[in-house]
């Protein structure tokens, strides 16, 4: 049984113009100890998905799911109190901007230890020892002194390390990391990602890692789920996704970033013309068809989730068939 199973998860938000379908029936699962990357462009529903899993959606949002199960527990049926216990003890979250999660008024020691004392009932002394151990593990020097420091006394990179240590305090089964390195410099990002991957393997923690960076995904993910307009349009083990992307959107994404050594410098890049459709109201057919270079009349019907080889799935009418004759190439506009 997977650690987390999600079937037909939907998140609707009331907006002025009607109902915004931010997450439109997505399916995925996470195995124990696995790193699943959720990728997709701005507004495709990555954060809404993670907030739905954590039980932290905005109050006005409406969640429905055929199945939302964490280690056999039906998350949709939990009381707010049990949900909150689960959140502290067995699922934790790392945010993009650590200052949104760290309280500027409390020392790092207090914030690191609080959860462990509350959820696991350990003594303050034991909690401090674990905090020091984890701060050292995430590469923070003089860990003992740091416990008395306040968040603003640390650099962005150090704060993100503290967040990782904090997420690991209760030895959770699942960590959801929502773009944890997007705000950092590339050198710091590489260090943090390496660390997260090491710790994840050491503690056997499952991680859902949210990002829009296909470079990051390639280097850290065991499996990938690609989102577009509120849907998972393709999911696969990482090597399969990069070697044989089956959905035209995934193919487009992979070919529009310059690949050093492959894309000749100064050459034209492949672009995906057009824009994402509005998610307010009902979306008919394939949500990508207004931008898809191979769209056919069939695409006005909603494509099924096609099973390809192994654990590789794609939501496209032509995922398992040869590509029909392409339309004439689009010019930039």
């Amino acid at each position: 049984m997977p650690l987390l199973e999600v079937n037909n998860l939907r998140v609707d938000l009331p907006v002025e113009a009607g109902t915004l379908h931010a997450v439109r029936g997505i399916d995925f699962h996470v195995e124990r100890g696995e790193m699943l990357c959720l990728v997709g462009e701005s507004g495709c529903g990555k954060s809404m998905t993670s907030l739905a899993l954590m039980g932290l959606l905005p109050r006005k949002a409406r969640l429905t799911a055929d199945r939302l199960q964490f280690d056999g527990i039906d998350l949709t049926m939990l009381s707010e109190r049990r949900r909150s216990d689960l959140r502290g003890a067995r699922m934790s979250m790392i945010f993009q901007e650590p200052m949104t999660a760290l309280n500027p008024a409390y020392t790092l020691g207090n914030q690191l230890c609080e959860g462990l004392i509350r959820h696991r009932g350990v003594s303050r002394q034991e909690a401090r020892e674990r905090a020091i151990y984890l701060l050292e593990r995430v590469g923070i020097s003089a860990a003992k002194d740091r416990l008395n420091q306040y968040p603003h006394q640390l650099s962005g990179g150090l704060r993100q390390r503290v967040m990782i240590a904090m997420a690991l305090m209760c030895e959770p089964d699942l960590i959801i990391a929502d773009e944890p390195t997007t705000a950092l410099d590339v050198t710091i990002q590489a260090q943090i990602l390496r660390l997260l991957r090491e710790l994840q393997q050491e503690f056997g923690t499952a991680v859902i890692f949210i990002t829009h960076d296909l470079g990051v995904v390639a280097r850290i993910a065991d499996r990938v789920a690609v989102m577009y307009a509120g849907e998972v349009i393709e999911s696969a083990p990482t090597p399969a996704l990069y070697a044989n992307p089956a959905h035209p959107y995934t193919r487009g994404l992979l070919s529009c970033i310059p690949a050093p050594g492959k894309t000749p410098p100064g050459s034209r890049l492949q672009a995906i013309p057009g824009v994402v459709p509005s998610l307010v109201g009902h979306v008919e057919g394939c949500a990508f068809r207004n931008r898809c270079p191979q769209a056919q009349p069939t695409c006005e019907r909603t494509p099924p989730l096609m099973s390809l080889s192994g654990d590789h799935r794609a939501r496209c009418h032509y995922a398992d068939r040869p590509v029909p004759a392409p339309r004439p190439p689009e010019t930039i506009s």
Partner: protein, 342 residues
Amino acid sequence: MNAQPITEVAESRPLPSDSASVSRAVTPALELCGLSKTFTLGGGLFKRGRTLGAVSNVSLRIPRGQVMGLVGESGCGKSTLAKMLLGLTTPSDGDVLVDGRPVRGADQKALARHIQPIFQDPYSSLNPRKRIAQIVGLPLRVHGIGTPREQAAHVAETLDVVGLPRRAAEQFPGQLSGGQRQRVAIARALVMRPDIVICDEPTSALDVSVQAQILNLLLDLKAEFGLTYLFISHDLAVVEHLVDRVAVMYLGRIVEEGTREQIFGSPRHPYTRALLDSALTPEPGLGVPDIGLGDATPDPSDPPAGCAFHPRCPKAQATCRQQRPRLEDIRGDNARVACHLA
């Protein structure tokens, strides 16, 4: 396309110190000579503020029609440098030469014809209450170039050049996508027909599927108008794709500068190497490299003595802690590096 009207006007109002003796072939389009900017932080009536050297003694030449990439981590001074080139910030020291003529004391209007910016954020840099035609035409009105009819025709042409539909002229920024808004920002820069464009992270607020369109556009414009670019970006793959030369900055100083092949093919400064190693290309199976850098990110108002990179440098020696390495063309191959061990 036909750029006639503007060229004519520009010709009739030359830069104040225009001199025929300056050969356009050898003079770099843009030259920075010992450029520095110091900010004063805090301070008060009886307390002296601390100083922060955001940009320190930067010298750089950008040949006409070339793209110079500028990379380096957050806060290293890239945007401050860009603002000095545009005349938006006064240098504390040093000079900027555009076409061999100093910008200091030059007429802002004349300068605006030569050099224009494209900034990062297509959302906040456009006035939400103005129509696209007004936004793009503003520089022409401000500088009193052409009659209203000529201006309108020129705006329409420029919208064509950047690939915006003509109907966009009557729309407001809020009605356009992020990529379209960045095209508006590019149109606004190009409407003056500058020869130099300063791009400060022009695509970093955009999704990758849109970024490719804008990069293609910048390349097309360069080919068509022979533009010279300074291209600031965090994305090394994009920089490698676009530039002829690259300058790498660390804590306000250029630490290495050379051709694309020199920098990406055989980087010599340890910071450049770390930067390149940190770039995660989309190749599964390679994992995340161990770049062997400490994360002792320095305080720019209290930079380390000697080589500013030494606290993080895996190769640092005693000399590195004491003496600042000079940016020099050590091998005579027209590439410069500031490292005692290079």
